[in-house]
């Protein structure tokens, strides 16, 4: 995220610096040093006042913890007092050779891919549907967005109650004569990760729909109208006009979804508890971190896991920026230049 913002800034800066060099500045009368330009101090003080507090908070609560985590990651530290037992890279070697961590990592990777595959088309379909005139349109929009607004804890508790082996879902299946389908949705390792995906999809598809709807509304009616006058069918309009124009929105959504999937913690923690996620095959890197860090009183190790998660997320974010989001910024820049 930070990287994304940074790039936008530099882009703006580049455009900004180009502007005075163009027509704008040269049209002005020859530069006379204004009273403002002569003393920079009030301006600087203002900048310092406006940026200072935010910068301080950012440094203290974002940068410093990251640096500290990197520092503690090199120690065997039980969390009390100062860390003194330096162990070098031992924590990192243990993490990367621990089958439980590699399993958690593979679950994260699976969730990243499946979230995109399941939520993307579904959300796009719903968004296209809701973009047409429909009865109860706003009601449906609200209903689809509601799960996203409900807190993860409530969602997790609700689903875990429904999905227990003697819970509502199995009860329903038996009542309608499909008792053979009833299974242990939460602790059967072959079912649990799919259960998690269903919950995640239900919870987050609303967010994708809202994003896509906003994207759809940004597409000028003139374009679709022109296409229709040229004889394009509804599906042709969607396929050749709407979808390509939705590209930037979809790519941003996918970015948010990937980062969210990599850092997934709360839903798993609530539904599977502190211990069973690994057994059921739904552990994520974040649940591994808390289970083996805080819960084991091994804070040095936990910090090392945090650093590994941070690096993985960072690399993924940078690669995504470099190879996928760059297209969007390139389009905007050229669009602006012409």
């Amino acid at each position: 995220m930070a990287v994304l913002r940074e790039e936008t800034h530099t882009e703006e800066a580049a455009r900004g610096s180009r502007r005075p060099a163009g027509g704008g500045a040269s049209a002005l009368p020859p530069a006379v040093p204004s009273p403002r330009a002569r003393s920079h101090w009030p301006k600087r003080a203002e900048l310092l006042l406006l940026i200072g507090p935010a910068l301080l908070v950012f440094l203290a609560f974002v940068i410093l913890p990251v640096v500290l985590a990197a520092y503690y990651g090199f120690f065997s530290w039980s969390g009390y007092g100062a860390a003194t037992d330096f162990v070098g890279l031992r924590n990192y070697i243990t993490i990367l050779t621990d089958p439980a961590f590699l399993e958690a990592l593979s679950h994260n990777a699976f969730i990243v891919v499946m979230s995109l595959v399941l939520q993307g088309p579904l959300a796009l379909g719903i968004a296209l549907l809701l973009n047409r005139k429909l009865r109860f349109q706003s009601l449906i929009r609200v209903l689809i967005f509601v799960p996203y607004v409900i807190s993860e804890v409530v969602v997790g508790l609700g689903w875990s109650l429904m999905l227990q082996s003697n819970g509502a879902l199995n009860g329903l299946l038996e009542k309608v004569g499909l008792g053979g389908l009833a299974t242990d949705w939460l602790s059967d390792p072959s079912a649990a990760i799919w259960t998690l995906l269903v919950i995640i999809t239900w919870k987050y598809v609303g967010f994708a729909v809202i994003l896509f709807l906003a994207g759809l509304q940004g597409i000028p009616d003139e374009i679709t109208e022109a296409a229709r006058i040229d004889g394009a069918s509804y599906w042709q309009v969607q396929r050749y006009i709407v979808l390509p124009l939705m590209g930037p929105t979809v790519r941003i959504w996918a970015f948010l979804s990937i980062i969210g999937s990599l850092q997934l913690f709360d839903l798993v923690w609530i539904v599977w508890g502190q211990y069973v996620a690994g057994t059921a095959g739904t552990s994520t890197m974040a649940t591994y971190m808390v289970a083996n860090g805080r819960n084991s009183g091994s804070y040095g190790y936990g910090n090392a896991v945090a650093v590994v998660i941070f690096l993985i997320s960072l690399v993924v974010a940078l690669l995504y920026q470099r190879f996928i989001l760059r297209r969007d910024s390139a389009v905007t820049t050229t669009g602006g230049a012409h």
Binding site: S78, G81, D184, L186, G273, Y275, A291, S296, G297, S298
Partner: protein, 427 residues
Amino acid sequence: MRLTKFVAGSAAILVGALALSGCSAGSSDSADGKVTLTMWHNSTTGDGKKYWDDTAAAFEKANPNVTVEIQSVQNEEMDGKLQTALNSGDAPDIFMARGGGKLADVVKAGQAMDLTSGLTDATKTAVGNSLSAFEIDGKNYGVPTAVLPSGFFYSSDLLTQAGITDTPKTIDDLEAADEKLKAAGIAPIAVGAKDAWPAAHWYYNFALRACSQDVLNEAATSRNFDDDCWLKAGENLESFIKTEPFNDGFLTTAAQQGAGSSAGLIANKQAAMELMGAWDPGVIASLTPDEKPLADLKWFPFPEVPGGDGEAGAMMGGVDGFTCWVNAPKECVDFLNFTAEKANQEAYATAFQTLPASTEAQSSVTDPALKDVLAAYNDAPYVSVWLDTLYGQNVGNALNVAVVDMFAGKGDAQSIVDAVNAAAAKS
């Protein structure tokens, strides 16, 4: 002008923030002799919570200069929350402790107060042997409130219904009883494996039967499972799990929250028995439909397992107690002495429906199940502390998770031993 105002405003906010943080930074003796004690315990509902409120009020009445601020922390949150608080330098003055390696870690970090000279003779006599759970290197770091040996709490009606007349004496008896219960359509044993420790208690008890007392205690310092008995215990547990004695969906069953928890299943007669510590009657009572004690609740000890090094009749269990933070006011130890007094211990036993640590107060136990626990406890050749408590948080957590894996069919006896031996690398 505006700048001056801004600076002045920021300064005011800063001063305010400092004042606030000053307020929250623990408690200590102030100039006027007023003392505030903060206390964390784990009873979030009912009579147990009320007991601590009442006891604190009684202590305040006897010591007008002292205010006791009580906070109840959900049990599963306690360890992590306490560690964070201790590390932040703003810990509660009095906090719950269960001895063993966990307390030793706190002591080693210099966070617990040495109570050796502060404890009165009356306290020492009253709580007797259970005090040793809080002894580290010859010094005392806590006062016990309850002794909590484990065993099987069961609904005698359900066992009768299944045609079981005698309580199981050996593990074979237990397996036979399970079969009878299953044949009668009753889930034999409830276990809250979602919380890990209830499943782990099974392994601890098999280890208690397989390993000698010396091996159990040596592992507390070596934190290593090299003796063959650890493997034997795992194999015994594995073959027992293969008989499928547990309730459906036990992996996502919690221990003691709500009707769907293992204690809730016993309270609502959805399962016949569970292996649990002596706090169970109180928990079950809070989960029955009328929130009254379960009338047919009875108890038998963990069955003997042939071929082990453990002495017959030995028990696995815990001691609940309280410790003073190293920076707590001196009134902290007075409060602990106060809780060990006979009347308070009797009230404790009644409120929690459990066994008081004070031997003087044990006559107040009337519940038939608890009376059986008490008799077995007094006859036991030795009582081992829960292994996760004994071996500290790091090894304890790894052990518990490995046992859950075995319950899920994901690991064997060797993987439990490996997990414990590997845990040290993550510390």
